[in-house]
Assembly symmetry: C2
Homo-oligomer: 327 residues x 2
């Protein structure tokens, strides 16, 4: 891939060159210094894509479902994007060869862009910037963006916050829906997908899930429906994409979409600020000072106060310096 | 509960008054302004307690296991503390009445202090300060602290970081150990507990788990062992507490304990600083300014830069002001 100047990169991106999108995504992942400026310039081009989160426990068939949804969307949509955070997903290369081969059907389609991103650390927590990645896909002209994540708590919540419609995928297995409830998945689901519904016990699982949902309070007039799919056979996919469209219509008509998106941009602003302050504060010097102070038995409580005072002092000196330079 | 002055509270805490511990825990949860100072004063009294994390998927029997471990420890330990973050745990009152009644056996023991704490938001993320809560239990004189958390990603990692020995509890159920592996539990387990091992299939599950673990690289000479328990019958509890003691011995002898604890205090310092900066930056004014700017279509990227500049300016003005006052 050629090296890009920022202006050239932006130009190539706007002309729809896929390597430019790839490059921008890498910059987001690596927290490249000029990324914020580039994202800022692309921001006015965002807002049209529908962002769909796909989450649920490992083994629920999320990747297969995403694959089939993409194929379905490609009948009408020009461009569809996939972001996979699941380290065990075939999209991220973490699965068996057979799965990967199946994924190549959509992987070879020039209207589909698939990107796997690393999760932060071993457990939970998405990579830096699922939001930024979605903005990029959006600005690039994708009309649907599917974000797949492994079902481990924090990352689910992050995906739910970053997307417009959240699908929670579970399989008919004894107690699975109760476990999902306990794990907090009920709160984030806009639509439940009971996948592998050709299995024994699917009807029971369906009734169990519906009865659990019926106890939940409705949020702004939307009660998460349960859809049965058998993604590997392509069953229920058209119905699911119809339901996603209904959810979109509901959010738009009730004004809830605007609310959600505003909440999202507020959260994003907070996160960007925290990242920047943290980067500025944690110089190698301060990190070393912290380590050695703590090793000598200073309490973290004392140490944090000391570092904050030091940080403020540094900022003050910087400001004075820039003042002097200006005068 | 009477109102305490800080000095009185500290005095009562040091004399071992349980209401003082309860009050301090509440202060930690509520981020009471003088908490840091109090924690700092208690810090030299910490370090003796052994902190045990108990995590795993919902329904694995974690609470029953904790209950039995506490009873076992109370044969030799003066004081044992329990912190429950699992909203579905009987300890937090989230479970059925029958479970709660069983818990009362240890709940009535004056040598046991049980505290349930809220998780941050619906999903993942522990409440503010599992670390601080452990410090309080520790300084109060508890020799064992058990921290129970529901198995949803982020919170597990937080517990693993806050404790000395992490137990991962699973049940013999088809594919459960593979799911645990996918969910990242393999990485954090110091000891695996195969609970409900009186169930059919326990032997198979045991072999499956051991074979998965054998593929894992050993960390500093410790390979997480698998223990079979049937906590509801009290089976395997003595063996488990023996294994926890072995792990402790291992960590102490290899110097790994010191490393772990140093890493923990560094992380805690970072967190304290981030919390404080965030509190200072997010005044109601700035929050309102952010909301309205974003509502008018400003990008989060622009907005974050503007707020950071404004924050720095505020700090500079504060410094100037305090200088003027001093002179």
């Amino acid at each position: 891939m050629p090296k890009y100047e920022d202006s050239h990169l932006l130009e190539a991106f706007r002309q729809g060159h896929r390597p430019a999108l790839a490059r921008m995504l890498t910059r987001v992942e690596n927290q490249h210094p000029t990324t914020t400026t580039l994202l800022d310039q692309l921001y006015p081009s965002t807002g049209d894509a529908w962002r769909i989160g796909v989450t649920g426990p490992p083994g629920a068939g999320k990747s297969t479902l995403v694959n089939k949804l993409v194929t379905n969307y490609r009948k009408t949509d020009d461009q569809v994007g996939v972001i996979a955070f699941d380290p065990t997903s075939p999209f991220t290369g973490g699965a068996l060869l057979g799965d990967r081969v199946r994924m190549e059907t959509i992987g070879l389609d020039p209207g589909v862009f698939i990107r796997s991103m690393a999760t932060r650390g071993h457990l939970g927590g998405l990579a830096v910037g699922v939001d930024e990645a979605c903005d990029l896909f959006d600005a690039f002209g994708h009309s649907k963006i599917l974000v797949e994540t492994v079902g481990v708590g924090q990352s689910e919540l992050e995906v739910a916050n970053a997307t417009d419609t959240t699908l929670v995928v579970i399989v008919p297995q004894s107690g699975d829906s109760i476990q999902a409830m306990k794990a907090g998945l009920m709160e984030i689901a806009d639509i439940f997908v009971l996948n592998k519904s050709d299995r024994d016990g699917a009807e029971d699982a369906y009734r169990e899930l519906v009865s659990i949902i019926s106890m939940k309070e409705m949020e702004d007039g939307w009660r998460a429906p349960v859809l049965m799919t058998a993604a590997n056979k392509g069953e229920g996919i058209a119905e699911l994409s119809g339901m996603i469209a209904s959810h979109r219509k509901h959010l738009v008509e009730t004004g809830r979409l605007e609310q959600r998106r505003r909440k999202r941009t507020v959260a994003k602003t907070r996160r960007l600020i925290e990242d920047e302050l943290s980067k500025k504060l944690w110089t190698p010097d301060r990190a070393a000072q912290t380590e050695s102070g703590l090793a000598q038995g200073d309490s973290p409580y004392t140490m944090s106060q000391r570092l904050i005072a030091d940080f403020y002092e540094e900022l003050r000196r910087e400001q004075e310096h820039s003042k002097t330079e200006r005068s």
